[in-house]
């Protein structure tokens, strides 16, 4: 068996690939649902209904999708330039901590500054924190050749421990009855609700705007061209006179900033303070979402809504039938692998 490159992938195949991947995923996962002893049809109906089937389900899914779009964009941008940023989780927490440090400490009122300025400072600090956290591994990669996958993965553990120390110490909320929870962000910095009587907040609009902006950046700007060139071959790009190292640094700063922003948006839009479980793996989900979206910033939105819908739907399904919520993680993991194979088959054909 060998693979032969197709001259040009057909448009139909490119559209069919994600659908085929999802169909295969649902078929394989149904075996697991059946193993748990639940009726497959009813379980899937409950899953879809719980994720997308009502006003409540939709708003919950969109709330969950907001940080996922941002972490998905962070991963998609970095992976485009072959910078394997697996440290998004840590960068998200760094952003969340930075946001509260600016807008929550100092007697619960944040720095003494007018609210709009303080808001800008908060967002800026969160993005800077995420960016700086990724800058280290990116420089280690370009200067010393240290594999960024391992350094960013290990940094996640270090950052989470640092957050835990901060929540025990200087940023601890004294009124939280001993729960490890940070002081709250001051009220004027909280994001407005987008839909009344729901948790969807204006962070969703920011995420959508950034998705379009990133698409335009990759498509129409010099930096975008450089990123795509570096991604398709660093040596060739260097030979063509591209500033490979400088591009990698810019990508690292942007990708880290997006992850940091995800943390700030979660704090300002949903939780109001930092806890150690504020992100149930949004970082790793971002990597999956980027791959599901074939690294296209616009498709990241759709992939994030899909993943969020599965997570929210699985929660509500497991309350009705005896299928553990972990089914959502299994579905997402199989979808990722299915999508990788489907994408490959749009570019190659299998020959005997």
């Amino acid at each position: 068996m060998r693979l032969e490159r197709r001259d040009r992938p057909s448009r139909l195949a490119l559209l069919a690939a994600p659908l085929a991947a999802v169909a295969v995923t649902l078929a394989l996962s149904s075996l697991l649902v059946a193993w748990a002893g639940a009726p497959v049809g009813r379980a899937y109906a409950l899953l879809i209904e719980g994720g997308f089937g009502s006003r409540f389900a939709l708003t919950e899914t969109l709330t969950r999708a907001t940080p996922l779009i941002l972490t998905g964009l962070s991963a998609a941008l970095a992976f485009r330039a072959r910078l394997y940023n697996i440290g998004i989780e840590g960068q998200l927490y760094a952003g969340a901590i930075a946001a509260v440090a600016v807008g929550g400490l100092h007697g619960g009122s944040g720095f003494a500054a007018p609210a709009p300025l303080l808001f800008a400072l908060m967002i800026g600090a969160a993005m800077a924190a995420g960016a700086l956290l990724l800058l280290g591994p990116a420089l280690l990669k370009s200067r010393f050749g240290v594999d960024e996958v391992v350094t960013t993965l290990l940094l996640n553990f270090i950052v989470l421990l640092a957050v835990s120390a901060l929540l025990d110490g200087p940023m601890k909320d004294p009124t939280a009855m001993g729960w490890p929870q940070s002081v709250a962000l001051q009220d004027s910095l909280q994001l407005d609700k987008l839909v009344p009587r729901s948790r969807v907040h204006t962070g969703l609009l920011a995420a959508l705007a950034l998705s379009a902006a990133l698409w335009a950046l990759l498509r129409f700007t010099t930096l975008g061209f450089e990123i795509r060139a570096v991604g398709s071959g660093a040596r060739a790009a260097a030979f063509a006179g591209m500033p490979v190292a400088a591009t990698a640094v810019k990508v690292a700063l942007l990708s880290g900033a997006l992850a940091g922003l995800a943390g700030a948006v979660e704090v300002a839009g949903r939780t109001g303070y930092v806890t150690l479980d504020m992100s149930p793996g949004y970082g790793m989900s971002g990597v999956v979402i980027a791959m599901l979206a074939m690294l296209n910033p616009l498709a990241v939105v759709a992939a994030a809504v899909f993943v969020a819908g599965m997570l929210v739907g699985a929660d509500s399904m497991s309350r009705a039938v005896a299928v553990p919520t972990y089914i959502a993680d299994v579905i997402v993991a199989i979808a990722l692998i299915g999508m990788l194979v489907a994408t490959l088959l749009t570019q190659y054909r299998i020959r005997r």
Binding site: L3, L154, V287, P324, Y326, I327, L336, L340, V341, L344
Partner: protein
């Protein structure tokens, strides 16, 4: 200062070092085998979780402890087969496929655990491996047979890689697959074999946690140990002997931080948050990577899919 010296002279400290090192030795040897044949395997973190669960559940269902180890190895090899199919046959990105395997193995283990034990508050336990109390060697006689197995595997893997035709063939497909093909070697089959064997070791590394170090399965028990193994292989310049050294060094810092936590950092006369000590091993892994990165002799074909007739 004298307290620190006292600690280093105490047998229980070194018992802890060797116990902490065991899964790292097994996992690092597993990653090493895969990478020597040219395949990065970031599936290790999830394969360890799956091995920990599968080995434990087999023993819980009545299998013997060694049968549990076998089940863990087979589980690892099965995920290795999937990783090899994706990266060797289909030539997908080894980074992404590995992360996908980690997600899949972790979520499958969690799902299977919850399906098997829907309503338990405290995890059910098994009777784990007992220490080899009869042995005349101090420190080692407080360990279990799995630790001895891990220590024996180090020279075995070194011999296999360096002194046998199979090892030579594995190294060749990791350095120059086109030349290996020219010698009549089957590149794909060799890589499948190395990835499956390495993944089996990763599965056993996970099973050590549930069958020897603890006696139950917890969701977060692997907790980054797999990623540490990936770092240790670079630190070890892909040599089994140095991998053992790296695992022991890492375990030394982990045991040290555990002890410093208990004494509240008394050894240095400072009150520090305990999280700082927990960070120490991860920080050491990064520092070690940076120190060796410049002269790291990566297998030349690592992360490069091999397609016949395609350059």
């Amino acid at each position: 200062m004298s307290e620190t010296l006292e600690l280093l002279a105490s047998a229980p400290f070194w018992v802890a070092v060797l116990r902490i090192a065991t899964p790292l030795i097994l996992g690092t040897l597993g990653v090493l085998l895969c990478e020597r044949a040219g395949v990065l395997n970031l599936g290790i973190e999830g394969i360890m979780v799956a091995g920990a669960f599968a080995g434990w559940v087999a023993v819980y269902q009545g299998a013997s402890l060694w049968a549990g180890v076998g089940v863990a190895a087979l589980t690892g090899a099965a995920f290795g087969l999937l990783h090899a199919a994706l990266t060797v046959s289909l030539g997908l990105s080894q980074h992404v496929s590995g992360l996908g395997i980690t997600l899949l193995a972790t979520s499958l283990a969690s799902y299977a655990y919850r399906v098997s034990f829907p309503k338990v508050d405290s995890p059910p336990t098994i009777q784990p491996f007992a220490p080899l109390a009869g042995w005349p060697i101090p420190v080692l006689n407080a360990q279990t047979a799995l630790t001895v197995l891990a220590l024996l595997l180090v020279p075995l893997v070194a011999w296999l890689l360096m002194r046998t035709p199979l090892g030579l063939a594995w190294r060749m497909v990791g350095e120059n697959p086109a030349a290996a093909e020219g010698q009549g070697l089957n590149v794909a089959a060799l890589r499948y074999g190395a990835v499956m064997a390495g993944s089996a070791l990763m599965g056993v590394a996970g099973a050590f946690l549930t069958l020897s170090a603890f006696n139950a399965f917890y969701f977060n028990m692997v907790n980054g140990r797999g990623w540490v193994c990936v770092a240790l292989v670079v630190f070890a310049s892909w040599r089994p002997g140095k991998a053992l050294l790296g695992a022991l060094l890492f375990a030394f810092f982990d045991a040290l931080q555990l002890r410093l936590q208990q004494t509240g950092g008394g050894a240095f006369g400072l009150e520090l948050p305990y999280q700082l000590y927990l960070m120490l091993p991860y920080a050491m892994a990064i520092v070690a990577l940076v120190l060796v990165a410049r002269r790291a002799a990566y297998p030349q074909a690592l992360m490069k899919p091999y397609r016949k007739g395609e350059r």
